[in-house]
């Protein structure tokens, strides 16, 4: 039987673990008979090792904060330049626990780092779900506003009063109770004369250190977040950005006035 002949191509198959197992013995025999090919194979192996030593330190570096930000916050927010907090948060977490610590802290669910993000995410989801409802847009109608405010205050655990947005042409439709992680949130729904709806999502927010304003846009809706004295709020709607921004300022002003903080 004539020994099977191999080519230089097979050196790569062998090096990359792509050679069929049944060819291996014959290949080794061929290699024994071709010292030049042995040298060549060893050279490719050494080159690969060199390349690995030059490139792999990159994979061991601490992940730059801007990449953490890109992952945690959608691009719309980054472009608006509102994400310094996420970068700082990511850097702090990496400093504390490295990647493993970060993952351990983050996988189980809603942890403080992404809280504002989580609130906006929930606010957008809830808005898209209920603003399009014809008949069941709220649990409690605006006609029972007094009862609604008391009930939601009790369930969310902070004093809540639906703010008056009539200066912006929006009337209160009513409100409902929503889950946010293991806690609760209130959603107040408003509607203008042409049928546009916006909602105000309110939950407890204990992170007093970050008193920033944030915006997220996703699935055609935009949420504007702010936090003030233990309240985390997001006003959500599908109107143009400039209008949403105007509404969020008015809602902030009116909310502060309504709950008396």
């Amino acid at each position: 039987m004539t020994p099977r002949s191999f080519t230089e191509q097979d050196l790569h198959l062998a090096l990359d673990g792509e050679m069929p197992a049944e060819d291996r013995a014959e290949f080794d025999a061929w290699l024994d008979a071709h010292p030049d090919m042995q040298v060549r194979l060893q050279r490719y192996r050494d080159d690969r090792q060199k390349l690995d030593s030059a490139l792999s330190p990159v994979a061991a570096e601490v992940i730059p904060p801007r990449l953490m930000t890109a992952l945690l916050a959608p691009p719309e927010r980054r472009r608006a330049g509102l994400t310094w907090r996420f970068a700082a948060m990511a850097a702090a977490l990496l400093a504390v626990g490295g990647l493993g610590g970060y993952l351990a802290a983050s996988v189980p669910g809603r942890q403080p780092p992404a809280l504002a993000y989580a609130i906006m995410d929930d606010a957008i989801n809830a808005h898209l779900m209920y603003a399009n409802e014809k008949r069941h847009v709220v649990d409690v109608a605006a006609t029972e506003a007094g009862h609604m405010n008391d009930w939601l205050s009790k369930r969310v655990g902070i004093r809540l009063v639906a703010p008056d947005l009539s200066s912006q042409g929006f009337d209160l439709v009513g409100g409902r109770l929503l889950p946010v992680g293991e806690a609760s949130a209130a959603q107040f729904m408003y509607q203008d004369a042409t049928g546009n709806r916006i909602s105000l999502f309110v939950t407890r927010y204990e992170n007093r250190n970050d008193n920033r304003y944030d915006v997220m846009s996703e699935r055609g809706a935009e949420a504007h977040f702010w936090q003030e004295k233990g309240y985390g709020c997001a006003i959500t709607g599908t109107m143009p950005e400039a209008r949403m921004s105007e509404l969020s300022k008015a809602a902030y002003r009116e909310f502060i006035k309504a709950v008396g903080i």
Partner: protein
């Protein structure tokens, strides 16, 4: 952070390493990773949970790299520098780079991009030929030939560099 984002986070070190093989400047490489992460977040539904997002992410980043290279070519920017250009434009290197690794990375940049990605995806990132073919959107046979040509080119360029260094010593 949800589990999908956590799984993507775990791939960032590898994505950065691959990006450094695609682009010599560490800033440009991280820009590419950032673009890839942003793109991935908008296409989250294309990835089935349970499966590792690695191949999916590499494919996204690779496609962005190709787009970027095409745009640069249309604008008439030199996207491929020769070794001598690389030396002339020598930039402050990243902290971890030793003179030896710097030379190797410079040489790698001189390998034609389509061959370079093949030898890195398979040789460094450990993808099979079939997986690399899927990421690059080419047949497995093409990956195979790019690997053998790429390794040959890399070897020749390393030898050229070694020869050039010898000449420099002799001239002094």
């Amino acid at each position: 952070m949800d589990q999908k984002r956590a799984a993507i986070l775990a791939e960032i070190p590898r994505l950065r390493r691959y990006a450094r093989a695609l682009l010599r400047s560490s800033d440009a490489a991280d820009d590419l990773v950032q673009d890839a992460l942003e793109r991935a977040l908008t296409k989250m539904e294309n990835w089935q949970t349970g499966a590792s997002p690695r191949r999916w992410l590499f494919a996204i980043m690779h496609n962005l790299f190709i787009d970027q290279t095409r745009r640069a070519n249309r604008r008439g920017e030199a996207s491929i520098l020769t070794l001598d250009d690389g030396e002339a434009l020598a930039q402050p290197s990243a902290q971890y780079e030793t003179p030896e690794s710097r030379e190797i990375l410079d040489v790698l940049q001189a390998v034609a991009p389509e061959r370079r990605v093949a030898i890195v995806l398979v040789g460094i990132e450990g993808f099979s030929y079939a997986e690399a073919a899927e990421i690059l959107g080419v047949p497995a046979g093409t990956v195979m030939s790019r690997i053998s040509r790429g390794r040959e080119e890399f070897r020749r360029l390393l030898d050229d560099g070694a020869r050039r260094r010898t000449f420099k010593v002799v001239e002094k």
